[in-house]
């Protein structure tokens, strides 16, 4: 089932936007479809699951606040060209795990602010651009206080004349000692006209920190394609398998529930088939 079919089937409890407070431990996933403005607050000590689905071109502003000791698993999925601003602010000892999937002309800015001690943020993202699409993935992680952890891994695949841009900034404030921040950007360009720009940046004002960043841009591994063809796979099949393998560790982090995660994986696969 595709994501759209799943939405139309009525199997999901969805809402369009507005202000929402998650104040009890909820078993299911809160699913917001095409929100224009959305404010979500996860109450103290609560664990919640949130999924934002963007199925048509539009503009979105989403603000998410994690109270002390809360935890949130959040998915953010773009099936069509969209502009979006996603702001996450985290209080002490909160944990936010984000999985982002951008398929299409999405231009999305993430701003994650770690405002309380021992807050932790992880973000795993993938963007795929085909034809002449232009995908922008902009991520700022702000370590405003000490003892916070952040980790991001964003993978991009572009083909034809598509362009993909990753901008990643890790900001560490002067008092944010013992910060542990890691940022990785990995990308594959298919063909000579496809283009990736990756700009990882660190801005550090504290002196006792562990920060790392890395970025790679590569082509499809011809040796791997040859190896798979020697075992009987066709070239398109080998290429797709290789790309699915490349983004697979991001997509498999989906925590939105079996049906949704399967639908999401199917969307990614069908997009990769178009490359």
């Amino acid at each position: 089932m595709t994501v759209n079919e799943l939405i139309q089937s009525g199997a999901l409890q969805t809402f369009e936007g507005g202000t929402i407070t998650a104040d009890a431990v909820s078993g299911g996933t809160l699913v917001s479809v095409n929100p224009t403005t959305l404010k979500v607050r996860i109450a103290e000590g609560v664990a919640a699951n949130l999924l934002l689905l963007h199925t048509k071109p539009m503009q979105t502003l989403a603000e998410v606040e994690l109270a002390e000791g809360s935890s949130l698993s959040m998915g953010d999925v773009y099936l069509a060209g969209s502009f979006a601003d996603v702001k996450v602010s985290q209080c002490a000892s909160s944990e936010c795990r984000m999985v982002v999937v951008q398929l299409g002309d999405a231009n999305v800015t993430y701003d994650v602010a770690l405002n309380g001690k021992e807050a932790a943020s992880s973000l795993h993202g993938v963007f795929v651009g085909a034809d002449s699409e232009h995908v922008v993935f902009d991520l700022t992680t702000r370590h405003n206080v000490s003892d916070c952890r952040s980790e991001s891994l964003v993978k991009g695949v572009v083909s034809d004349r598509a362009a993909g841009e990753f901008r990643g900034l890790v900001y560490v404030a002067q008092d944010a000692q013992r910060t542990d921040a890691r940022q990785t950007s990995r990308n594959v360009e298919i063909g000579n006209a496809a283009h990736i720009i990756t700009k990882p940046q660190l801005e550090i004002y504290a002196d006792d920190v562990k920060c790392s960043h890395g970025a790679t841009v590569g082509q499809i591994d011809d040796e791997a394609i040859l190896y798979m063809r020697q075992r009987g796979l066709s070239e398109p099949m080998a290429r797709r398998l290789l790309l699915e393998g490349f983004v697979g560790d991001v997509v498999s982090r989906c925590e939105a529930g079996g049906e949704l995660c399967a639908a999401l994986a199917a969307e990614v696969e069908s997009k990769l088939e178009k490359l």
């Binding site: 791997a224 798979m228 020697q230 075992r231 009987g232 796979l233 983004v247």
Partner: protein
């Protein structure tokens, strides 16, 4: 099964194979030896269909068909297997998934029904035992983080899964310790029948203690300059190649 006639191949402007003649029949084991740079791996690559090399002259038939007209994958599906000297890592693709697709493609090509999941799993279990491959490795990504020995065992495991008519093993013994060499070589021997054939490319006689060849060929500067039986490998181990190649120096 395989007939190579006056095969010439080059990479760019450089001619590497300069007239290879070789015939391999069902049930036979051939060993190809020769000094570094003589064209052994190139021969294996050209037979497998690696597009990096251009065939400039000659003919190759496999089971009566013109091999040189076929794509890499069709050669594989017909039953030609190349054991890579340097098996490639494929991050994010599990061995099980990879083999499932490879077996499915081969069966489709041959007009056979696809295997059910339980039949496939049984095949995986049975074949991983041939090379004592840790069954946990089949749920890991292809060759990723495998040791040198595991990679080579994994090649023979894949060979067992695909049950090729002709297996070309390119320096499968390189980088193996004594135990791994025994396991890999014994695995190859177990897979050998009167219906299939094996070509092993090697530098060392010790592999041939396990995989006993019917013929040993010496490749030098792109040509087979001498052929013999298994005693030739022993002689080469003792005396080197000089006595053979002196006549062929330019």
């Amino acid at each position: 099964m395989l007939k190579v006639t006056n095969l010439h191949a080059s990479v760019g402007e450089k001619e590497i194979l300069r007239g290879i003649n070789l015939e391999v029949k069902a049930g036979e084991v051939h060993a190809i030896m020769g000094p570094n740079g003589s064209g052994k791996s190139t021969l294996a690559s050209v037979l497998a269909g690696n597009e990096k090399f251009t065939v400039t002259a000659g003919e190759v038939t496999f089971e009566g068909k013109n091999l040189l007209e076929m794509s890499i994958e069709d050669r594989a599906r017909m039953g030609l297997f190349l054991g890579f000297q340097y098996p490639v890592e494929i991050p994010g693709v599990t061995m099980a998934n990879f083999m499932k697709m490879a077996v499915a493609e081969q069966r489709k090509f041959r007009g056979e029904e696809p295997l059910s999941t339980s039949e496939f799993l049984r095949l995986m279990r049975e074949k991983s035992a041939v090379v004592e491959l840790d069954s946990k490795l089949t749920s890991r990504a292809v060759n990723e983080g495998f040791s040198g020995g595991e990679k080579k065992k994994n090649e023979i495991f894949q060979m067992a899964m695909l049950d090729p008519k002709l297996a070309i093993l390119d320096e499968t013994d390189s980088g193996l310790d004594i135990d791994a060499l025994r396991i890999v070589a014994t695995g190859v021997t177990k897979l050998h029948t009167s219906e299939n054939a094996t070509v092993v490319i090697t530098h060392y006689q010790r592999l041939l203690d396990y995989i006993v060849p019917d013929y040993v060929h010496v490749l030098y500067k792109g040509r087979i300059i001498h052929s013999g039986d298994k005693s030739l490998a022993l002689k080469l181990e003792k005396e080197g190649y000089d006595w053979l190649i002196n006549d062929h120096k330019e």
